[in-house]
C-alpha cells in the first residue's frame, strides 16, 4: 500500500510549532496552560501573601472550635457548646430540608398550574398565565423578604389568642395556630403499639408495588385490565386504618396550646422556614409550569390522534402516549429548576433561616474571620450538590434518549 502523505522533509524545525497544523494545536495548548497556571499562581500567590500578612494562613482547624452561637431551626442535636463543624452540618441539613420541601411543593404546584394553563377554560388559563408571569418576572429575593414581612406584620401575635374576646382564633378545628412567630401544627405522639401500625403501613406500600407488577403481568398475559388505581388506594389506606383501630388508636395528635407568651406543644414551623419554603416553591413553580406546558405542547398532535385512532380512551391516551413522551422533554429542565431552587435557598440568609450559607458562610465566617476557608468549604458543598444533581440528570437523559437508527 502506497502512502499518500509525503514524509516530513528535513526533520523537525522550530518554526513548525507555529505553521504546521500538526504541532500548532500543541503550541496553543501549552501557551494556554502556561497562561492559566501563571494567572492562578499569581492569584493564589497574592492570597497566600495577604493571608500571611494578616497572620491567618490557610488552616481548617477552626471547624473544631466551639461555635458559641445557637441555631433555632435544627434537625439534629445541637447547642452553642458544639463545634463550628457541627453547626455547618446543621446548616447543611437545613439547606437540604428546605430544598427537598421546596422541590416537592414546587413540582406539585408547577405541574397543576402548567396543566391548568393549557385548560380549555379561558378564565382558568388566564389566571394561571397571570400567576406565572407575576412570579417569573419579580426577583425571588423580593418574594422571600416580602413573605417574611407579611408573616411578621400581618399575622396575629400569640397574645391575640388569649382570653374570651380573643382577636385571633386557631384554624382548622382549633388545631393550627397561625401566629407572627410561626405556624404551630399538631404533632403525632407515638404510643405503645404504634410500631405495628407503622409496620403495616410500610408493608402496604410494598404491597402496592407488588400488586402493580402483578397486575401489569396479568394484563400482558390475559389482556384484562384491573382498576389498579382504586385497588392501590384501598391497599394504601384500609390495612393501616384497621390496624390503627385494632391496636386501640396508639397514635394521637398533640395540639399546640397557648401557654405563657407563646404556644407550646405541637410542631413549631418557624416563620423563616415557611417564608423561604413558600416563596421558593411559588417562584420555582412558575418556571416548572412553563416547562410542563412546553413539554406537553411538544408532543405532536399526530401522536394523540394516532392513539385515538387505535381506540384508546382519553385518560389512557394521556397516561400511555402523551405523558411518557412529554416527560422526556419536561424532566431535564425540571431538574435544572430543582438545582436553581437549591441554589436560591442560599437566600435564606435574608430572612435569618440558618442554612449552610447562614451558618458556615454567615456567623462562623464572621466569628472566626476565616473567609477563605469558610467560603472554600461552602462552595465545595454547593458544587457537590449541583454536580450530584446534574449527574442524576445525565444518567436519566441517557436512559430516555430516543434511540434513532
Amino acid at each position: 500500500m502506497s502512502t499518500i502523505t509525503d514524509p516530513v522533509q528535513g526533520g523537525f524545525r522550530i518554526s513548525m510549532l507555529l505553521y504546521d497544523t500538526r504541532y500548532r494545536s500543541m503550541t496553543i495548548q501549552v501557551i494556554a496552560l502556561i497562561g492559566f497556571l501563571l494567572a492562578i499562581g499569581w492569584l493564589f500567590g497574592n492570597a497566600a501573601q495577604n493571608l500571611a500578612a494578616l497572620g491567618k494562613p490557610l488552616n481548617f482547624s477552626f471547624l473544631g472550635d466551639t461555635a458559641g452561637y445557637d441555631i433555632n431551626q435544627r434537625l439534629i442535636e445541637y447547642n452553642s457548646q458544639m463545634t463550628h463543624g457541627r453547626a455547618a452540618v446543621v446548616g447543611l441539613l437545613n439547606t437540604l430540608l428546605v430544598a427537598v420541601l421546596g422541590c416537592i411543593t414546587a413540582t406539585v404546584i408547577g405541574v397543576l398550574v402548567g396543566i391548568m394553563r393549557l385548560s380549555k377554560n379561558w378564565i382558568i388559563s388566564k389566571i394561571m398565565t397571570v400567576y406565572i408571569e407575576t412570579f417569573r418576572n419579580v426577583p425571588v429575593l423580593l418574594w422571600i423578604i416580602m413573605t417574611m414581612a407579611i408573616f411578621i406584620e400581618v399575622f396575629p401575635k400569640p397574645s391575640d389568642f388569649r382570653g374570651a374576646d380573643a382577636v385571633a382564633s386557631m384554624k382548622l378545628f382549633e388545631s393550627v395556630a397561625v401566629t407572627n412567630r410561626g405556624i404551630f401544627i399538631p404533632s403525632p405522639v407515638f404510643g405503645s403499639g404504634s410500631m405495628a401500625v407503622i409496620a403495616v403501613f410500610i408493608l402496604s406500600i410494598v404491597g402496592i408495588f407488588v400488586f402493580g407488577r402483578w397486575a401489569h403481568k396479568r394484563q400482558d398475559e390475559t389482556g384484562q385490565i384491573l382498576p389498579t388505581f382504586w385497588i392501590k388506594l384501598g391497599i394504601f389506606f384500609i390495612p393501616s386504618i384497621i390496624v390503627f383501630y385494632v391496636m386501640g388508636q396508639p397514635i394521637s395528635l398533640e395540639y399546640p396550646e397557648l401557654k405563657g407568651f407563646n404556644f407550646k406543644g405541637g410542631f413549631h414551623m418557624r416563620n423563616s422556614l415557611i417564608a423561604l419554603w413558600f416563596a421558593l416553591s411559588l417562584y420555582t413553580a412558575a418556571f416548572i409550569a412553563e416547562t410542563v406546558r412546553s413539554g406537553i405542547q411538544a408532543v405532536s398532535k399526530g401522536q394523540t390522534e394516532a392513539a385515538a385512532a387505535l381506540g384508546l380512551r382519553p385518560g389512557r391516551i394521556t397516561s400511555l402516549v402523551v405523558l411518557p413522551q412529554a416527560l422526556r422533554v419536561i424532566i431535564p429542565p425540571m431538574i435544572s429548576q430543582y438545582m436553581n431552587l437549591t441554589k436560591n435557598s442560599s437566600l435564606a440568609i435574608a430572612v435569618g433561616y440558618m442554612d449552610i450559607t447562614g451558618t458556615l458562610g454567615g456567623v462562623t465566617l464572621n466569628q472566626t474571620g476565616r473567609e477563605m476557608e469558610s467560603l472554600m468549604i461552602l462552595m465545595a458543598i454547593y458544587l457537590t450538590i449541583s454536580l450530584t444533581i446534574s449527574t442524576v440528570m445525565n444518567v436519566y437523559n441517557e436512559r430516555v434518549k430516543l434511540r434513532e437508527r
Binding site: 500548532r24 494545536s25 493564589f44 492570597a47 426577583p139 414581612a149 437566600l347 473567609e371 467560603l375 462552595m379
Partner: protein, 432 residues
Amino acid sequence: MTDVSYVRTEMLQEKAPPVSQAGIIKWLRENMFSNIPNSILSIVALWAIYYVLSDVLPWAFKSSWNANSLGECRSAIAAAYGEGASGACWSVIHDRFLQLIFGFYPKELYWRPVLIFVLMFVAIAPVLFDGLPKKMLRFTMVYPFLAFWLLWGGSLWFPLMIIAGFVLGYLAFGVVSKMASSLVGMIAAVLVPILWWLFLSGDVATMLQSIIPLSIESVASDKFGGFMLSITIGVIGISLSLPIGIVLALGRQSDLMIVKVICVGFIEFIRGVPLITLLFVASTLLNYFMPPGTNFDLILRVIIMVTLFASAYMAEVIRGGLAALPKGQYEGADSLGLDFWQSTRLVIMPQALKISIPNIVSSFIGLFKDTTLVSIIGLLDPIGLSTNIRANMEWNGVIWELYGFIALVFWLFCFSMSRYSMYLERKLQTGH
C-alpha cells in the same frame, strides 16, 4: 288552469343564528361553561377574582399620596374615608421615589444617569434592529466608556487610556501578525494591552490630566443605589459577559483538550455555586487575590464577580446557539478554505449569535433579577433601600406599598424584555 308552481326569484333574508350559537353567549359556553366541572371551576375562579379585587381595589384607591410618615398617612386616610378604613399609603413611594431610583446620587447630577440611560437605547439599537446604519455600532463600542465616565465622573483621561489599550492591542495584532504568524499576533494582542494597563496607562493618564484637565465631578460608589444600581450592574455584567461567554463557548467546543478542560471547569464551577457565595467572595475575599495593598471599591468587585457569573451562563447560551447551527455551515466554511478564526468570525458566530438572542435576553432578565442579591452584602439596591426605609421611624411597618412598587418596576422591566425576546424568537424563526 292556473299555474300553481312557485319559483322564488329573490333570496330569503338570512336568519339570525340561534342565541346560543352566536356572540358572547357562544363564546361563554365554549370557553367557560362547556361542561359541569368547567362551569364550577369558572364560577369559583370568578368568585376568587371578585374576592381579591373587592379587597385590593378599595385599598389601592382609598389611599394617601402626601404624608410624611405612616402614622400621618393612616390618620389622613381615616379622616378622608371614615374610621377603620384601610387604604394604601402610597405616600411612601412619593416620599422616597428619587431615592428608590437613584440611591444617594447627588441631586444636581441626576442628569448624568438619565442621559446614560437614554443613550443606552441608542447604543443597543443597531444591535437589535437590522435597518439602522452600521456606523452606529461605533457609538455602541464607545458607549461603555462614556457611561463609566459619566456615572462615576472624574478624569476623562482614564477611560480614554483604557480605550487606548484596545487600540494598542489591535495595532499590535496587525503589526505582529504581518511580521510573524497570526498566532503570535493574537498573543501580542492580548499581552500588549495588559502590559499597557498595568504599567503605563495610569501614569500617562495622570500626566495628561495635569496638562489638559478634562474632568467632571466624581461620585463615590457608595452614593450609587436604587434601580440605577441594579441597571448599572445588570447592563455592565451582561455586556462584559458577552465577549467572555463567546470565548468560553468556543473553548468548550474546541478540540484542544487543555483549553476545553479549563473552560468546562470554569463554567461548571460558576454554574454550580449560588451567586450569593460569589458575592461573598466579592465582599470579603477578592482583595486578598490582588497584590498586597490594592483596595478597590465594592461595586467594582461586585461587577467583576457578577460578570464572571454571567459569562458562565452566557457561554452555555452561546454553546446552545453553536450546537443549533446545522453541521453544513461548519463544513461549508471549511470547504471554502477559511481558517478557524475566519470561519468563526464570518460564518459561525453571526448565525449562532442570532439564534441565541432570545436566550441572551432571558439570561439578562435572570441577571437583572439577581442583582437584588447585592443587598445581602450591604449595597443599597431597591431591596436594600426598602429594608432601610422600613427600619426608619417614619415608615416602620409599611409592607405592601413599598414592596409592591419595587415588584411592579422589576415586573415591568422583565416582562417587557421577555415579550421582546418572544417577538424576536418568532421573527428569527427561519424554519418551516
